[in-house]
């Protein structure tokens, strides 16, 4: 358990960020990370000794997040993008880049989930392409094509501005 603590503890901030970037809600994201950590503790002895622990932990979290998002979609609870992004992503309001960041996050939220995961794992969490492929359970070529599409789509959405991107998000529809 000592080695588990030493390896997993430094990952927690990163896990929280990935979960919140996907779910866009702090409470459910932290719940998800807690689920993930409980599984990590329970299955630590089952992981492959030659495998990378960070990839393994991210795989558990990613699968939990996908399940959670599917359940939420099935229940028909749609979170309006522009209502949550400000509270879920606590960017300090004093920053000059505030609007710039907000536009990027709104555009990110409008990406399909598979493109968003690739962009976050590689661009934000610094996983290698091979590690991202392992977490997502897809071939390396799929990771590269998703990354390419994600970057082009994100650039397009940012240029179009928040007004359009907020309404074009897949599965995101405002519920009064």
């Amino acid at each position: 358990m000592q080695d588990m603590m030493a390896i997993v503890e430094p990952l927690i901030p990163s896990l929280r960020r990935y979960a919140r970037s996907l779910l866009r809600d702090q409470v459910s994201a932290d719940d998800l990370v807690q689920d993930c950590l409980e599984r990590v503790i329970g299955r630590w002895h089952q992981r492959r000794a030659d495998g990378d622990a960070r990839t393994w932990v991210f795989t558990i979290l990613h699968n939990l997040a996908i399940n959670r998002m599917r359940q939420t979609a099935r229940r028909g609870v749609h979170v309006p993008v522009d209502d949550t992004s400000e509270t879920a992503f606590a960017t300090p309001p004093t920053q000059e880049d505030q609007l710039h960041h907000q536009a990027a996050l709104t555009a990110l939220a409008a990406l399909p989930e598979d493109q968003r995961s690739v962009l976050l794992l590689i661009g934000v969490e610094d996983l290698s392409y091979a590690e991202a492929a392992a977490v997502l359970g897809v071939p390396l070529g799929t990771v590269m094509s998703r990354l390419s599409r994600a970057r082009q789509r994100l650039a397009q959405l940012i240029e179009e501005g928040p007004a359009r991107s907020a309404t074009t998000g897949p599965g995101l529809r405002r519920v009064k």
């Binding site: 358990m1 603590m5 997993v8 503890e9 927690i12 901030p13 990163s14 929280r16 960020r17 919140r20 970037s21 932290d30 990370v33 807690q34 950590l37 409980e38 503790i41 329970g42 992503f89 606590a90 960017t91 300090p92 880049d97 710039h100 960041h101 907000q102 990027a104 996050l105 990110l108 962009l119 976050l120 590689i122 661009g123 934000v124 290698s128 392409y129 590269m144 990354l147 390419s148 970057r151 994100l154 650039a155 940012i158």
Partner: protein, 258 residues
């Protein structure tokens, strides 16, 4: 000449994932292709914007619910408690089964005396003393109903000792099953939440017995019998030295009231 620059190389350039030599090739290529260079520079800025926007989340202090040491401890505790409860349940089954079997085959009485009572109290404490959700069936607030229930099942008068002088608050209790029929179980806890319990049932043998210490694993108890009722006051190992005077006090109060 090196192999041609692919789209994958360009993304790897944006992500800083290229080796030195390949990186130089890509930089030379971008110098010759300003439009491509502009597109991938935009991807690079996009990447930096997302990192900057999401960075504060990772800089937040980790909330206590995600403290790894706590999660490990909670898991240990729950598996330990479940394991103990399972062992206690198996032992109860064994005692009941073995008792019944020996009665049937050899005609010998099952354990009925003060030692059997001591064991029953230890098992009951191992199960209910650890129970986080519902340690008692009836709360102290309804102690009249609790006393009526136990008296009905035991066909005896009972009383609930007040152990607050010793630092134990009455929580409530329940009727529990033993190989010798129903027994009453009264539960108490101290300011730190450490629990003790008193098990009581009518005695067929050892109707009067002096107080004696007993131990079953982590559970320590003091058992005695007065006028056909047997009692055992049980608690965790850590409180062992404190239990004897508490048991004396409980016996004194019950003698004066019944």
């Amino acid at each position: 000449m090196s192999r041609p620059i692919s789209e994958d190389d360009l993304h790897a350039y944006v992500d800083g994932a290229l080796s030195g030599a390949r990186r130089a090739d890509v930089e030379a290529y971008l110098e010759r292709n300003p439009e491509v260079a502009e597109q991938y520079a935009r991807f690079g800025r996009q990447r930096e914007t997302l990192r900057a926007a999401l960075g504060p989340i990772a800089a937040e202090p980790v909330p206590p619910q995600l403290n790894l040491a706590h999660l490990v401890a909670a898991r240990r505790q729950s598996s330990w408690t479940a394991w103990r409860a399972a062992v206690a349940a198996c032992l109860l089954l064994l005692v009941g089964g073995a008792g019944g079997w020996s009665l049937r085959s050899i005609g010998v009485e099952p354990g009925v005396g003060i030692n059997a009572l001591a064991q029953e109290a230890s098992y009951a404490y191992a199960v209910f003393g650890q129970d986080k959700g519902r340690p008692v069936e009836i709360n102290a607030a309804d102690s009249t109903a609790l006393v009526r229930w136990v008296e009905n099942r035991l066909s005896r008068q009972i009383s609930v000792p007040d152990l607050s002088q010793a630092g134990y608050r009455f929580m409530g209790g329940r009727v529990v099953a033993t190989p010798n029929g129903a027994a009453g179980l009264l539960m108490y806890d101290d300011a730190q939440g450490a629990r003790i319990a008193i098990l009581m049932r009518p005695m067929m043998r050892d109707q009067n017995a002096p107080m004696a210490e007993h131990r079953e694993g982590d559970v320590v108890g003091y058992a005695w019998a007065d006028n056909g009722m047997g009692y055992s006051l049980v608690g965790g190992n850590s409180a062992a030295s404190l239990l004897h005077p508490v048991a004396d006090e409980a016996r004194r109060q019950m003698r004066s009231r019944t």
